[in-house]
């Protein structure tokens, strides 16, 4: 418990005394927001995991792509 409290205060004091770090954290936050919310949601939301419900369907999809005849 004492260790957890020490870790908590360690991080709390560290963040409170940031100067340049505050700007960096803002950049980090905005960047992650754009990546995870905008990009993931609008451009990369569909994967084999979201499109298909089980591995058999995923295998089938890839096998179909790998073996389809050229038109």
């Amino acid at each position: 418990m004492r260790l957890l409290l020490w870790v908590f205060h360690f991080y709390k004091d560290g963040f409170m005394h940031l100067s340049l770090g505050k700007t960096l954290w803002k950049i980090l936050f905005v960047k992650l927001l754009i990546m995870v919310v905008v990009f993931k949601l609008f451009f990369f939301s569909t994967t084999l995991n979201t499109r298909f419900s089980n591995d058999d369907e995923r295998s089938d999809f890839v096998l179909e792509n790998l073996t389809k005849e050229k038109k």
Partner: protein, 509 residues
């Protein structure tokens, strides 16, 4: 958007992401060790000037780390949506190293990173020093797992293809992890990061000396930066030699493209400088170069550790050379088509639950699996990567690598001679060599990734078969947004760094 355009946009998007990501990574890899060395000197000598030096470079390290962290996450998104065939086909072989990387990066780097920045007055100097070293080791271990995954794409080993699931299954973890290609790639990539870190330190220190500011700080930083740079740039040459040797063994077409070698020869020389003939085509009699300077025997020595060895040229590798035991690409295309047909037949047999036929077709597939990816090509010439881009990138990388050795040696010599401040041209050269380090590293990645085209996984999966377009979003639009975001991040990094550098080591951070 037609299929070709979709593949091309996916490739452009991945290239853009990887190039930007690798602008941030190498400085983290190199500067972390330089900081650890500086802090070790501080702890050993208890000289507080070294503490200030360490803290100054640590501030710049933090800027680079914070802005660069998670830029690689986008590549994971791209694998899932734009490269789903590939992501599924590689199975747990790619997933396992990346998962280990994620865990290591999260727990090791982030934990000790906090101690490194918040812990100066909270933990003892030795524990702080240990944390700084562990951040450096953790960053480099992360790189190791990423490069194991990349190494496997260049030289797939230690797995078995399961036609029922369409996935490669790992048979031997240690074959994958200790693949000679992965090890060579890891050593060469991290040592390029060390050189970039050293160039960064000596370049900025040179700027302080040119401004006649913070002279003691700058000279001490120069000693550490130039020593570290000289050792690591020499090691970079050794690891580069090993990388080229591995390319010769496992990706001979890439080696031939890197050297603009059309016709194979024994006692092959390496091109020290050359201008490719843009009109040269495979199989014609035109000369490969408009002008070139060749170092005799060196390519045979580099590729096969034997000055008399025969090095296959593009024409030997595409059209075959029976005298030297090189099959033609057409033979491999034919074999690949048998493998593809066997996979189709296996699938049909599976649908009918015909286990005997499944066994038969799987046996045929496995017998031709080494040529599987060739089955997707129609012409032998399709196995040739972009020659000019591979050739010039390789030669730019090597030339800059040689320059860095000279630069570090001269900088160290004049710094130890206590005469460096009067060497204005050298100081300017050091300053302007910072971007050259990045150019060399990116050129190296272009050699590695463009040079292995048309393959996503060497011999098994061509790039165009790896791609899928599952997402509903427009790839051209997301490409533009990526370019915008990454450029904004890069500008932010440069602006914040320049401001912090101008403040100097005595301005606090």
């Amino acid at each position: 958007m037609n299929e070709l355009a979709s593949v091309d946009w996916s490739r452009a998007q991945f290239a853009l992401t990887a190039i930007y990501h690798f602008l941030f990574v190498p400085l983290t890899l190199g500067l972390s060790f330089i900081i650890a060395i500086m802090e070790t000197i501080y702890v050993a000598t208890n000289d507080h000037a070294w503490k200030k030096i360490t803290q100054f470079w640590m501030g710049l390290f933090a800027i680079n780390f914070a802005i660069g962290v998670a830029t690689g996450l986008i590549m994971e998104f791209e694998f899932g949506t734009n490269w789903a065939n590939y992501a599924w086909f590689v199975g747990d072989i790619f997933g396992a190293p990346l998962a280990i990387e994620g865990i290591l990066a999260f727990f090791m780097e982030s934990t000790f990173f906090a101690v490194m920045f918040f812990g100066w007055n909270k933990v003892g100097p030795k524990f702080h020093l240990l944390s700084t070293w562990l951040v450096a080791v953790g960053s480099n271990l992360s790189a190791f797992w990423i490069l194991v995954a990349n190494g496997w794409m260049q030289y797939p080993i230690g797995m078995h293809f399961n036609p029922a699931s369409a996935r490669n299954e790992m048979e031997n973890f240690f074959d994958v992890v200790f693949s000679p290609v992965a090890i060579a790639k890891f050593l060469h990539t991290v040592s390029s990061g060390y050189v970039i870190g050293a160039l960064f330190v000596i370049g900025i220190s040179a700027w302080f000396l040119l401004k006649n500011r913070e002279v003691l700080f700058a000279k001490r930083s120069l000693v550490v930066g130039a020593s570290f740079g000289l050792l690591t740039s020499l090691f970079l040459t050794i690891s580069g030699d090993e990388s080229a040797y591995q390319v010769a063994q496992h990706q001979p077409v890439k080696l031939a493209a890197m050297e603009g070698l059309y016709k194979g020869e024994s006692r092959a020389g390496i091109i020290a400088f050359g201008i490719l003939n843009p009109d040269k085509r495979l199989g014609d009699d035109a000369h490969e170069f408009l002008g070139d300077i060749e170092l005799p025997y060196m390519l045979s020595l580099l590729g096969y550790r034997n000055v008399d060895a025969f090095v296959g040229g593009l024409e030997d590798l595409v059209y075959g050379n029976a005298a030297h035991g090189l099959p033609s690409a057409q033979e491999r295309i034919d074999s690949g088509k048998i493998a593809l047909k066997a996979l189709s037949d296996f699938r049909a047999a599976k649908a009918q639950n015909d286990t005997e036929a499944m066994k038969t077709h799987e046996a045929i597939l496995q017998a031709h699996m080494k040529d599987f990816g060739y089955g997707y090509f129609e012409k032998p010439e399709q196995i040739v990567p972009p020659i000019a881009l591979s050739f010039y990138s390789f030669h730019i990388m090597v030339s800059l690598g040689m320059w860095f050795i000279v630069l570090f040696a001269l900088t160290l010599f004049f710094t130890l001679k206590r005469d460096v401040q009067t060497q204005k041209p050298l100081l300017y050269a050091a300053l302007w060599s910072i971007p050259l380090g990045y150019i060399a590293a990116e050129a190296g990645w272009i050699v590695a990734e463009v040079g292995r085209q048309p393959w996503a996984i060497q011999d098994l999966m061509p790039t165009h078969m790896a791609a899928t377009h599952l997402g509903s979003g427009n790839i051209a639009l997301s490409f533009s947004l990526f370019a915008l975001l990454f450029t904004a991040l890069l500008i932010a990094e440069i602006k914040i760094m320049l401001k912090q550098i101008a403040i100097g080591p005595n301005g606090g951070h």
